[in-house]
Structures are given as C-alpha cells and as structure tokens.
C-alpha cells in the first residue's frame, strides 16, 4: 500500500501551474474552486451540456449560501479554495473493463481494507462498485444484474448510458438549494453509484459500494442515486474507510433514494473513516445529505453504524409522500477520543397512515461528544400518521458527552408521536461482574456495548452485523480505564 500511496503523493504534489492538468498520469486537479473547476470536472466526465449547466447553477447558488453553524460540533473554518476537487488514480488506457485490468497495487489496497474483491464477490454474492477516490475502478457482477434488468454502475456512466433516468431523478429528492454541502456536492460531484431496479423486480443480490478517500487534500464528493421502481426491492450496503492522515479531509456526499409505489429500499452504512488521533488531529469531516422519498405503500429503511470520522454531520431522512409509506432509521454512532457526531434523522409525514420508526444508539467514550438530532414532522394531510422514536445514549467514562435534540412538529391531531430517551453509563458493577467471570476488561466493554446496540445490528444484513460488532470491538480498544 505504501508504494501505492507514494505514487498518489507524487500525483498530488506535482507541478500544477495551469490550474489543472489533463495529463492522464497525474490526473489530479490543483486546489481551488471556481467555475473552471466545475467545467473541468464535467469535461473529464464527458458530460452532456444539461448536466454542466445544472452543476454551474448549483455552484452559483452555493456561492450565495452560508456555512451551517447550528450543529453541536466545533471545528475551524474550512478553506474551500485549499481543496482539490478531482483526483483519479493513474491507469493505463481507457480504464479497466474487468478485474484483470485493474492496477494490482490498487487491488492490494482494497485487500488491506478487508475487501478482497474476488473472494468477497464470489463467496458473498455481493456486487461491489469500488470507488477509489473519485473514479469507480471496477464493477463486478454487472452482467448478472443486467439479466434481472437491474442497473448498477458508476453514476458517471449512468449519465452517458441512461440519461433519461438521471435527468428525471438527479436532485429530485435533494435539490442543490437544499443545504450548503448538498449545493457544493451538486457543483463538484465526481462519481458515485447509480442503481435502478425495474418494476416488480427483487434485486438478486445485496449491492455494495466501498468508498475510500485516499489522495491527500482531496475532498470526496460522491453522489449516489437509487431508484426502485414500482413493487421492486433492493438492499444496498455502503462501507467506508480512509487511511490515516494528519490534516482534515472533507467528505460531502449526497445520497438520494426514490422508492416508487410499493417498492422497498434498505440502505445500510458501515462507516469507519479515520477519526483523527487522540488529540483531535486529522480525521475526516463527514458532512453528508441522505434522503429518500417513499411513495404509496413504499418503504425506506436506513441502518447506519458510524464509528469513524472526526466530525459527523448526517441525517438520513425519509419523506413519507404516499399513503401507507413506511420510514425507518436505525443508528449506532460510536464516538471516542475527540470525535464529534451530530447525527439523527428526519421523518416527514405527508401521506395518510404513514409510519416511521427511529431507533438511535449513541455511544461516547473518552472525550467525545455525541448528539442525536431528529425531526418528526406530521403534515396537515397525514391522517393517522404514527412515529415511534427511541433514543438511547451510553457513556463510557466521565469526560464524554451525550445530547439529544428531538424536534416534533405535528399539524394533524390524529397523529401519534412517541419519544423515549435514556442515558446510561457502562457501570463499574457491570464491568466487575464480567471480569469476575474471567473476561478481560476490553472484551467486557465490547460485550456490554454490543448488547446495547443489538436492536440496530439486527437490522443489518447478517455478515455485516458480524463485521459491525467487530468494528465496535476494534474501535473501543483503549477506551476503557
């Protein structure tokens, strides 16, 4: 991996007098953001004119927006001119058509992350659309999916191959005016995944994308768009990881889900990006907008296990547009060291008999700050809408913090909204019981924390539930005492 990083280092630190370089061997844009940057990205992606114009509109609008300050997180101002907005790994020729053509160094990097594409794809039947920095390097199982009529490809490819779908749905759930980071993403998004599941089709496998931020000083701005047509079903898993870096890196992604009549989308995230060191140096700034729209009888379910990033600002939401639509949010957010998380969800009830469930588990250790922020909005037309929110916080040690900010707006008297919140501490008594039975302290804490999270892990696809449990164990190392 080090050799590979060395290569990327060279790419980043090469000479960029002209603002950017189109040299295929060092395909990284010099830091800076202006209309030319947007045009460059669009050109590199061979995008149609309408998309360039959309990006430019987004960029112009973004310039009028202000950085949000309301979250319970603290960090120095971000200099958007010091970030490089495009980075692609060097690759010979036109780009790999199959795994054999992928740079072996790159594949080794994935393997280090525990994603051996070959085995993983073969054993688990998971199709992986791996995003290395900004360009999707390899897409597996595309053919098998194509048989079922499922489209699963890099969004840049979808722009070329399926422009009608992209034009119809891109920005339809998260418009570029939505918020500061969504605006920025709309202007400079480089790649991401696109999924389309046709009417009545049950996607034959779990779809999975591993995102990874690699090059130095590159913001990553993926854009994910999932469209589940009427009566279809899809489960999508996103796993993220980033290597250790001294400086902070920005990640501002947008994920849009569209569940048409009777469709179901399950979106699971396991995120363990570099959280910074114990003193709070380095780490990813994770400012992400995730939102889905559920039409009549449709269901959208978000499950997230977040253990990484220096700062997490993220509220996967569901607009319950159609009658009988269902929205779910299951979350585990673990913060330790100097990590800060302000995360939660929005459930916007528009249709009649819409139902939403929120289960949030926040865990804080050492000096971390963990906040749940959630909105439940019941519109005037949402007859008999129901929401149940359960918000539990677990503290490890006495220097960390847990906060809950629930917002409830109900415009319909027939609605039922319930909110439960608890805060507990990993007790000395619990630890003593476990140790008296022979368990070492770290195993004991991880067992107690896993028990606390069980309700959420149950929602993850089986193999990832195991992974999530292990991830917590690793993340909690050294958090005791």
């Amino acid at each position: 991996m080090s050799k590979n990083l060395g290569q990327l280092d060279r790419m980043v630190h090469g000479a960029y007098e002209a603002g950017w370089t189109t040299d295929i061997e060092s395909d990284t844009l010099a830091p800076g953001l202006n209309e030319d940057t947007v045009r460059f990205i669009s050109a590199r992606k061979q995008e149609p004119e309408w998309l360039l114009q959309w990006r430019l509109k987004a960029f112009r609008h973004w310039q009028t927006m202000v950085h949000p300050e309301w979250a319970h997180v603290h960090y120095p101002p971000i200099d958007y001119q010091s970030i490089s907005y495009y980075s692609a790994p060097r690759r010979p020729g036109e780009g790999p058509q199959s795994l054999d053509e992928v740079d072996p160094e790159l594949l080794r990097t994935y393997e280090k992350l525990g994603i051996p594409l070959h085995e993983r794809a073969a054993l688990a039947g998971v199709a992986v659309d791996a995003v290395f920095d900004s360009v999707s390097v390899v897409t597996t199982f595309k053919d098998k999916l194509a048989e079922a009529g499922v489209i699963f490809c890099p969004i840049s490819e979808a722009v070329r191959e399926h422009p009608e779908l992209i034009r119809k749905y891109l920005g339809s759930v998260v418009p570029f005016r939505d918020n500061f980071f969504a605006g920025l993403n709309s202007a400079v998004f480089s790649d991401g995944s696109f999924v389309y599941v046709p009417k009545g089709v049950r996607c034959p496998m779990e779809l999975s994308t591993y995102f990874r931020i690699n090059a130095r000083n590159t913001g990553q701005f993926e854009r994910t768009l999932i469209v589940a047509d009427e009566g279809s079903h899809v489960s999508y898993l996103e796993g993220c990881t980033a290597p250790q870096r001294d400086e902070n890196q920005l990640h501002a992604a947008v994920v849009e889900l569209i569940a048409l009549k009777g469709a179901e989308i399950k979106y699971s995230t396991v995120q363990n990006w570099y959280p910074g060191d114990a003193e709070g140096r380095g780490g990813i700034y994770n400012f992400v907008t995730k939102r889905g729209i559920a039409h009549e009888n449709a269901k959208i379910s978000w499950t997230q296990v977040e253990t990484g990033s220096a700062i997490t600002w993220k509220y996967p939401s569901v607009i319950l547009q159609g009658d009988n639509a269902v929205g779910e949010f299951y979350s585990v957010a673990l913060t330790r060291g100097m990590q800060q998380a302000d995360t939660g969800t929005k459930m916007v009830h528009v249709g009649r008999n819409t139902r939403s469930t929120i289960v949030s588990k926040g865990i804080s250790a050492m000096r971390a700050e963990n906040s749940y922020r959630g909105l439940v909005h019941i519109g005037a037309g949402a007859e008999n809408a129901r929401n149940h929110t359960q918000c539990d916080s677990l503290l490890i040690g006495d220097r960390c913090g847990a906060h809950t900010f629930p917002y409830i707006e109900s415009r319909n008297p027939s609605a039922t909204v319930e909110h439960e919140a608890t805060t507990s501490k990993v007790g000395d008594d619990q630890l003593f019981l476990c140790r008296q039975r022979g368990l070492d302290p770290e195993k004991a804490v991880s067992m107690i924390v896993n028990g606390f999270c069980k309700q959420v892990f149950r929602e993850l696809p089986m193999e990832f539930a195991v992974e999530a449990g292990k991830l917590l164990e690793v993340s909690l190392e050294g958090a005791v005492g």
């Binding site: 019981l433 476990c434 008296q436 039975r437 368990l439 067992m447 896993n450 028990g451």
Partner: protein
C-alpha cells in the same frame, strides 16, 4: 487453599477490616456470619479484587500464590468465584452468550479446549434444569428483568458451569423463599468436593440447615471474633450477636 493473614482494608478511607485472620482448606465449607457493617461483604469484595476496596496491610495466599497481586479476571480464571449479593443486569447480552464467553475464558486459562456450540448448549441446559430454570431463561439478557430469586439462581448456574476452586457466596440466601433456598442449597452441595472450598457469607442460620458448614466464623468490627462448629450458628440465632461482644469485652 486460602490463608488470610492480618488483613486490613479500607473503603473510601474508612477502615473496615482490621486484622482479619482466616485459613480454609480444600474440601471445607466455611460460614461467615456477623452483624450489619461488620465487614462480611467487604471481605468477599477484597477476595474478588473489586475496585474501591483498598488493602492497607496483611496478605492473602491462594493456592500458594499472592492473590492480591492478581487482577480481577486473573483471580476468576484461577478459580475464584463470587456469587453476587445484587447481580447487575447487562441488557441485550444474552445469558447464553455471557455464560459461554465466561466459560471459554476460564477453560482456556486451564488449558482446556473450548466446548463446541452443541456441547455447550447441552451443558447449559442440563445445569439450568438442575436449578429448575426454564431453558428460555438462557436466551434472555443477563439478569434483565429477572426476579430476585432468578438472579440468585443465575449466580449458582454460573458457579456450577465454571466449577471454581474457591466459591464465595455473598448473602446468596437473602430474599429467597424456602423452595428457592432448597434449590440454591442443592446447587452449592453439588459443588462440594475434596478439591474445592466454599465461603458462605450469610445473616441467617437458615441456609446452614441446608448446606452444613465445617466451620462458622463470627465477624465483628473487621475481625473474626469467634470460630466454632455448626452449633455456633445455632447459638447465635438463639442469643443474637450481643452476647459475643459482651463476652469479648
């Protein structure tokens, strides 16, 4: 097996144990009685190594080793078991999972191979049945929503699974009805063997009708005030603790 010499211990800087001496041989069952605040539970906590209990003088030798030099989990793996007076809940962690992790930790220390999932299930089910616990009980969270009696029986279940060398029962009999007491006592008796020793901390002589001790010690003001046989417990029940103090004075 256990030799406690001139043990002094404090809790939050308050001296509780003040020169306690006690020797227990393998195969013996000792009952420790005494009025509230005499230091009975402190002795149990010090033996297990609980935080907040500071040994200021004296020594504890366990199977020829310095017990005080071992961490809590090392003592447990070396066969020291404490049945808790107030067992805590661990929500979301199933009893089964907890028992298995604990048994694996202890067995691997002894150099014994791990049981397979099937072997473990069999053992756990059989032991639960012995204590008249519904097998469903194994699937529930550790002590989560258990009644007082179930919590105590769960402690005995753990004890029987782990087969400790030295079992310390801290008021395991308190809050049990007569049927549950019988079940718990049967469990303790099942553990009795020439290789093991058992310390029962109790307020009441009632338990000693079911588990007959080899020795009874009366603890008062941080020291063993008197030791004797089974008859000492009966005498205590008849006369209370007052006469001993007067006697001593």
């Amino acid at each position: 097996m256990l030799k406690i010499t001139n043990l002094h211990a404090t809790v939050a800087d308050t001296p509780i144990l003040k020169g306690l001496n006690l020797e227990i041989n393998a195969g013996e069952v000792h009952a420790i009685m005494g009025p509230n605040g005499s230091g009975k539970s402190t002795l149990a906590a010090v033996l297990a190594g609980r935080d907040g209990y500071e040994v200021t003088a004296g020594s504890i030798e366990y199977l020829g080793r310095d017990l005080l030099a071992l961490a809590v989990e090392e003592r447990a793996r070396a066969g020291v078991f404490l049945a808790f007076q107030y067992p805590v809940e661990i929500p979301g962690v199933s009893n089964m999972e907890f028992l298995r992790a604990s048994l694996e930790a202890v067995r691997s220390h002894r150099g014994e191979p791990n049981l397979s999932a099937v072997e473990f299930m069999k053992l756990a089910r059989a032991t639960s049945a012995q204590l008249q616990l519904d097998p469903e009980f194994l699937k529930r969270g550790v002590n989560e929503g258990f009644s007082g009696g179930e919590k105590k029986r769960n402690e005995i279940l753990q004890m029987l699974l782990l087969q400790p060398n030295l079992a310390i029962l801290d008021e395991t009999d308190s809050g049990l009805d007569i049927d549950a007491l019988q079940v718990v006592a049967d469990g303790v008796n099942a553990l009795r063997s020439p290789e093991r020793a058992i310390i029962m901390v109790t307020h009441y002589q009632r338990l000693l009708d079911y588990v007959v001790p080899d020795q009874v010690h009366v603890l008062a003001d941080g020291r063993i005030l008197r030791s004797g046989g089974r008859e000492l417990a009966l005498e205590l029940e008849a006369k209370g603790y007052g006469w001993l103090r007067d006697d001593a004075a």
